[in-house]
Amino acid sequence: MSGYVITILTQIVIQAIVVCGLNVIVGYAGQISLGHAAFFGIGAYSAALLTTQAGLSFWTALPLVLLICAVCGLLLGLPSLRLKEDFLAITTIGINFIVQAMFLYVPFFGGALGISGIPRISMFGEPLRGAHFLYLCLACLAVVASLCWLFTRMFAGLACFALREEESAASSMGISPVRFKLLAFMLGTMIAGLGGSLYAHYMRFVSADDFSFPLSIAFLAMLVVGGMGTLLGPIIGALILGALPEVFRPLADFRILFYALILLLMIRFQPGGILGESSLIRKRLLPQFLGGQK
């Protein structure tokens, strides 16, 4: 594998991890989050500060990073308890801008210069580079995906699904919307934080520009394109939307236009996503593979 492919794959895998986290919030629990990049950023900055200022390693800093993201997720999940759909959507957009502004203006976070000099991740005394770092990211993705799978098998997961489908009915069956919405937010942001930490150690430099609102939209787009609420949807979505700009690289100046058009067409004609319920893939291709069930 060439260095170029490894770089693209590493970015895709890290993004897939973050989108898995978004899937818990939006796909499993049915909450809107247009500010997911903010938690990705909080994870990245936490990792950056803990490893550069407090001298911790990636491994020892990780529990703290997860804790910080969980607390932030809890705080920023509170609006979802009081606000309805569109209000909530716009509030999460606002969270993006506010967190980004914090990174930019509060000197503790390095201001416009960000934080640099983040060390590489070491395993068994060896700093991980290139393909080895990619393997670590893949391992993390596997862990995250397994945890998500396990979550869907636990009652906590079923409760989130019920909440997503019909909140008032779920509540009259003993499921506390407060408890499970906040739970979903916390899980989702912790996973995003893991992705952020990996990102920080990969780029070895973080700044506020990396975590802006368009990135939140990109994450949501990956989730929607892949198939919201499915297990592999986040991964497929990250793969497709991560690879597209590279595939279109030869188109040079027309790259972004093509990306936007593909996104528009996908969303317009297959809003359920590639792995979604009524997608072409499910209806036409899968039955071929599985000998036509359903």
């Binding site: 247009l34 569109d86 716009i90 957009i93 506010i98 787009a221 027309f254 236009l257 317009r268």
Partner: protein, 291 residues
């Protein structure tokens, strides 16, 4: 009049101008949200198209009147196309679907503009047919006067339209409940498209005014207003046009005074959202929204 006082007044006038422009852009967004419950983020790119159309028509014909009319027509068509081709078919899906579609549309339009006209900043030097005014040492440019007058004219027009005409009544009924309006014999799809026409034409006016005021037209000029105007319709109370206008004026003043005049070290673009969260905490349906 002391220099400080003069500066303050000038900043207030600038703030009101900014607020008026926000109001013009937000109006279309609030109208659309009112009838369709869709966050029409792409509205900001319609506004950008308005600015470009305006500058090109003006440069080819030399007539500002033609620039305004041609731009309004073009944007009206664009707005209806977006509504019919993208939003209407997606109504039955959860709201994040049309939202992502809207963002994709905005990105597409921005890129098309960039590829057609280039990424550089174009100038839009034009003199609006209003007088320059000097009041006790304070200079109000013709552009500034134009912004105030045109904004007031648009607001008066909308007020007349919604309260004194049949069409306006139909619009209000549709915004309350599309199904019930339909049962009353109102063709709600027609009303929705008409709302897009009006909102987009107003956006075109906004685009041209901004282009002249700052003497700048560039492909991404819609990006920042796009999200601020979202915060504004929340603050105003989703779908409440008067609320959005008040919120817009207040934001324009706040941004200019707090940051331009008092030099408060706060990120200007985040102010809208902070204000929004503040208002929501106080009143969860916005300033003039209804539960």
């Amino acid at each position: 009049m002391g220099a400080n006082m003069q500066l303050l007044i000038e900043q207030i006038l600038n703030g009101l101008a900014m607020g008026s422009i926000y109001a013009i852009i937000t109006l279309g967004l609030a109208l659309v949200y009112g009838v369709m419950r869709i966050l029409h983020v792409a509205h900001a790119s319609v506004y950008t198209v308005g600015a470009y159309a305006g500058v090109f028509i003006f440069q080819t014909t030399g007539s500002l009147a033609l620039a305004f009319l041609g731009s309004m027509l073009l944007c009206a068509i664009l707005g209806v196309l977006i509504e019919r081709l993208v939003y209407f078919p997606l109504l039955k899906h959860p709201p994040y679907v049309p939202l992502i579609a809207s963002i994709a549309v905005m990105l597409t339009i921005e890129e098309v503009l960039r590829l057609l006209a280039g990424p550089q900043i174009l100038t839009f030097t034009a003199k609006l047919p209003f007088p320059d005014v000097n009041l006790g040492g304070i200079h109000l440019s013709s552009t500034l006067i134009a912004i105030y007058v045109i904004t007031i004219a648009i607001l008066l027009f909308l007020w007349w339209l919604t309260t004194k005409t049949e069409i306006g009544l139909a619009m209000r009924a549709t915004s309350q409940d599309m199904a019930i309006a339909g049962a009353q014999g109102i063709n709600s799809h027609y009303i929705v498209s008409l709302t897009f026409v009006i909102g987009s034409a107003i956006a075109a006016i906004g685009g041209i005014l901004v282009g002249i005021y700052y003497n700048q037209v560039y492909p991404t000029m819609g990006a920042v207003p796009a999200y601020k105007t979202l915060a504004l319709i929340v603050v105003g109370g989703m779908g409440s046009v008067p609320g959005a206008v008040i919120a817009a004026l207040l934001l324009g003043l706040a941004e200019t005074l707090l940051i331009g005049y008092l030099n408060v070290p706060f990120p200007r673009d985040a102010l809208a959202f902070v204000a929004m969260i503040g208002v929501l905490v106080w009143r969860s349906e916005g300033l003039m929204g209804s539960k």
